[in-house]
């Protein structure tokens, strides 16, 4: 079968649809009367809520750092400082997602619209990567200064090993959680749930879009 035959076959199918496809006007009319929020509009309140909660958290932790700066353990101040900095970056990404949502238009061309939609989802992965970066600080923020003496060497060694292991793991995850590794076993294990499936699909689509623009 030549390409011209395939096109002719499709034309036959098209003509067949023209005559046999019945349009149910009443149902279509009823559908236009449904009060349905768009997919993106339905996502917006949750993003806004997360930003507001994040901002409240940032203000709370920043206030703690400022007020306890002179009395708290430096481990607490540094750990809280890192945590709040990472939270601020995550809030920035959520705001970026809102901008992308504003730009996404379902009647735009396929590449632009799908790029915006896929980018909204895939930036969620960046937030996950940033959250992993917080791992070591959960082992350091409660360390008091007075344990740092020779008698506690064994405890300090254990803490050091835990913090080092968490740091290596979090940096490794931050670097390696990306599009190139989406098919690796460990990646599929972390992002295994149903809720992550649209994200994986978005990453694949972003890959496809990039290939299309070349």
């Amino acid at each position: 079968m030549q390409n011209t035959d395939i096109l002719a076959l499709w034309k036959t199918y098209d003509n067949k649809l023209e005559t046999s496809l019945q349009f149910n006007k009443k149902t279509a009319e009823a559908v236009t009367q449904l009060r349905v929020t768009s997919f993106l509009s339905s996502m917006r309140p949750l993003k806004l809520f997360t930003i507001v909660v994040g901002l409240i958290w940032v203000i709370f932790v920043d206030t703690l750092i400022i007020n306890l700066y002179s009395v708290a353990s430096p481990f607490f101040i540094i750990s809280a400082g890192i945590q709040v900095l990472l939270t601020k970056i995550a809030i920035g990404i959520y705001i970026y997602q809102l901008v992308l949502m504003h730009q996404a238009d379902i009647s735009e061309n396929i590449v632009i619209t799908q790029y915006h939609l896929a980018k909204i989802k895939s930036t969620t992965l960046l937030i996950a990567r940033i959250l992993f970066l917080q791992l070591p600080i959960w082992a350091t923020f409660s360390l008091p200064l007075h344990i740092f003496n020779k008698e506690n060497w064994l405890l300090l060694l254990v803490i050091f090993i835990i913090v080092l292991a968490f740091s290596i793991l979090s940096i490794w995850l931050f670097v390696n959680i990306n599009l190139a590794n989406k098919d690796k076993k460990w990646f599929r294990l972390i992002f295994n749930g149903r809720e992550w499936q649209p994200l994986i699909r978005s990453m694949e689509l972003l890959e496809e879009i990039e290939a299309y623009q070349m």
């Binding site: 079968m1 030549q2 390409n3 035959d5 395939i6 096109l7 076959l9 499709w10 034309k11 036959t12 199918y13 098209d14 067949k16 649809l17 023209e18 046999s20 496809l21 019945q22 349009f23 149910n24 006007k25 009443k26 149902t27 279509a28 009319e29 009823a30 559908v31 236009t32 449904l34 349905v36 768009s38 997919f39 339905s42 379902i106 009647s107 735009e108 061309n109 396929i110 590449v111 632009i112 619209t113 799908q114 939609l117 649209p198 699909r201 689509l205 496809e208 879009i209 299309y212 623009q213």
Partner: protein, 167 residues
Amino acid sequence: MSTAEKQGLFLQILEKHKGILYKVAHAYCADNEQRKDLIQEIVIQLWKSFNNYKEQFRYSTWIYRIALNVAISDYRKEHRRKEIAHPISNNILELAENDMPDEKAHQVKQLQEFINTLKDLDKALILLYLEEKPYKEIAAIMGISETNVGTKIGRIKIILQEKFSIL
């Protein structure tokens, strides 16, 4: 234009281009029930965008853009279906009994199955190619240059040729 007039015009355009909805839904949804939902979703999104329709494009271009964007996006996912909970159970489009010759019907089915195996953007492109849309219109729908359309269609022609040469 009053809402009733606008709705009338919209339904008229939809009826004229009903084939696009059917073909896009068929390319992206193998399941009958999901296909019905996808068509409803496309109609909803078309209606929501109708106010912003740009006259610089043909209606078919506008419909293709939205239908393909809806089909490629996650709109058709099960969780989304439950969220929307469409109270309408009737089909917008119904295909009357197929009186196509058996051999032709079989070939169309094979072609549809082949389209179903393609990646999302390739599906869109092959549909537009089979519709014999001019490169300019394909470029406007897809958002790539006309040269790029030519290159990609050239590749699709080779795949099609390989796949259906034995028929």
